[in-house]
């Protein structure tokens, strides 16, 4: 829902320019998606914490990183669900032109979404208090997400009609590298995030 609102706001802010160059639409799309993903993820562990379920989960003999991976998958699916509903709508509202390599763009979309949920899940597992969750979570998360935001926008622009196709692969590789670095770090650090 917030996505739709942001998209409409962007339309009013950028209306005429978008018709002239579709690159701006790529920026608007990703910024809207990032906002939605960041706001949605701050509550990843809230239900478990409030009802003491997390303690139970920690006490199970399973490896703790399994909890983390499960939560990453859940967030991935949630953001994916949002994307499935918003992409057709976005293409409709902004008259999005053809994308050069749909397969590659899909790969970019998946790896960016994965990056969003990898970092977002770990930050939300830190268990910020309710007041901080609203204010601090986006402040902490956005700077960490800058590399994939740049890659997502530029990777999309490269695939648009006037884009430079040769550079599109660089951005995809950058996002995948980011995912690998932060996934390994998160697996190592998740134990400490949950505490004893």
């Amino acid at each position: 829902m917030i996505l739709l609102v942001v998209l409409i706001i962007f339309h009013f802010a950028l209306a005429e320019q978008v018709e002239q160059n579709p690159q701006l639409a790529a920026g608007a799309f990703w910024v809207a998606l990032f906002f939605a993903a960041v706001l949605g993820q701050s509550r990843t562990f809230v239900a478990e914490r409030e009802r003491g379920c997390l303690t139970g989960l920690i006490l199970t003999p399973a490896d703790r990183s399994a909890i983390y991976v499960a939560k990453v998958i859940v967030n991935l699916l949630f953001i994916g669900l949002v994307e499935v509903s918003i992409i057709p709508l976005f293409a409709l509202l902004y008259q999005l032109p053809q994308i050069a390599r749909p397969g590659q763009w899909f790969l970019l979309l998946v790896s960016v979404t994965l990056g969003l949920s990898i970092v977002g899940t770990l930050l939300s597992s830190l268990g910020l208090s309710a007041r901080n969750r609203e204010l601090l979570f986006p402040i902490l998360l956005f700077p960490l997400l800058v590399p994939i935001l740049i890659s997502a926008v530029e990777g999309t622009v490269a695939l648009l009609p006037d884009g430079d196709l040769a550079t599109s692969g660089v951005w995809l590789r950058l996002v995948i590298g980011y995912d690998i670095v932060f996934f390994s770090l998160s697996i190592m650090l998740f134990d400490f995030a949950l505490g004893e």
């Binding site: 970092v119 770990l122 930050l123 830190l126 268990g127 910020l128 208090s129 007041r131 901080n132 601090l136 402040i139 902490l140 700077p143 960490l144 800058v146 590399p147 740049i150 890659s151 530029e154 430079d164 550079t167 660089v170 951005w171 950058l174 590298g177 980011y178 670095v181 932060f182 770090l185 650090l189 400490f192 995030a193 505490g195």
Partner: protein, 241 residues
């Protein structure tokens, strides 16, 4: 860590005296010994404090990572204090870089700010560590405060090179507004590089001294907090209030 503390206590006066001597000398060198830059004029003298501050802020953020990692591994409070104190100083020195940079950029490049690789990375780095400090302050009542901020400290450090690379790709694809190479890196005359080297040492000594002072202060704060907790416990137990 205990022996490190003793080392720190004995180093503190040495570094304090060192900083007190070095700072005036470095100012003298900057304004009277180093020759005037031909193109940029007196404004180039910012360089002698700008660049060392940048390097020292990197050093500080590296210490945040070291302190955070060591805290998670050893669970010793001192490492957490080191990380927090280094983050504070890193943010201060990084702010010096971000303030002196535009002052220098305006007369030489014609603009206060350009979204160049180094500028963008520095700004984002500053933002991340300001976030780190906000996290540390706001999680004060949380028992997991140290682990939480340690995890974020490690994340920030891992992110800095990735931000740098992504912004570099970003800029290399877009047209360059300024030829940074020709303006940004002036060939230094021997007197200039001597002055620069001296300033580098000065700023590092200054950083080391302030770091140790702040560390001692943080330890005292902790002790006071412990004593206060203890007293509160006693008062509660004895029913004095």
């Amino acid at each position: 860590m205990r022996s490190l503390n003793r080392l720190a206590v004995s180093f503190r006066p040495i570094l304090a005296v060192g900083a007190a001597i070095l700072v005036p000398i470095s100012l003298y060198l900057i304004f009277f010994y180093a020759p005037m830059e031909r193109v940029m004029g007196p404004v180039q003298k910012i360089f002698y404090y700008h660049v060392p501050s940048a390097i020292v802020s990197f050093l500080a953020f590296f210490l945040v990572m070291v302190g955070s990692t060591m805290y998670l591994l050893t669970r010793k409070r001192n490492w957490d204090l080191l990380a927090g104190v280094s983050a504070e100083l890193g943010v201060v020195f990084c702010a010096i870089v971000l303030i002196t940079g535009p002052l220098w950029a305006r007369p030489t490049w014609g603009v206060y700010w350009t979204w160049d690789v180094r500028l963008t990375t520095t700004l984002l780095m500053w933002l991340m560590y300001v976030g780190y400090l906000m996290l540390k302050v706001s999680a004060k009542e949380s028992p997991k405060r140290a682990s939480i901020s340690a995890i974020y400290g490690i994340f920030c450090f891992a992110n800095v090179p990735i931000v740098h690379f992504s912004v570099r790709y970003f800029r290399s694809i877009h047209p360059h507004l300024f030829k940074m190479e020709s303006v940004g890196k002036p060939a230094l005359s021997p007197a200039m590089s001597q002055t620069f080297f001296f300033c580098m040492v000065t700023i590092t000594v200054l950083f080391g001294w302030v770091l140790l002072e702040r560390l001692a202060l943080a330890e005292t704060e902790e002790e006071i907090e412990l004593i206060r907790e203890h007293v509160r416990q006693r008062v509660d137990d004895d029913g004095l209030l």
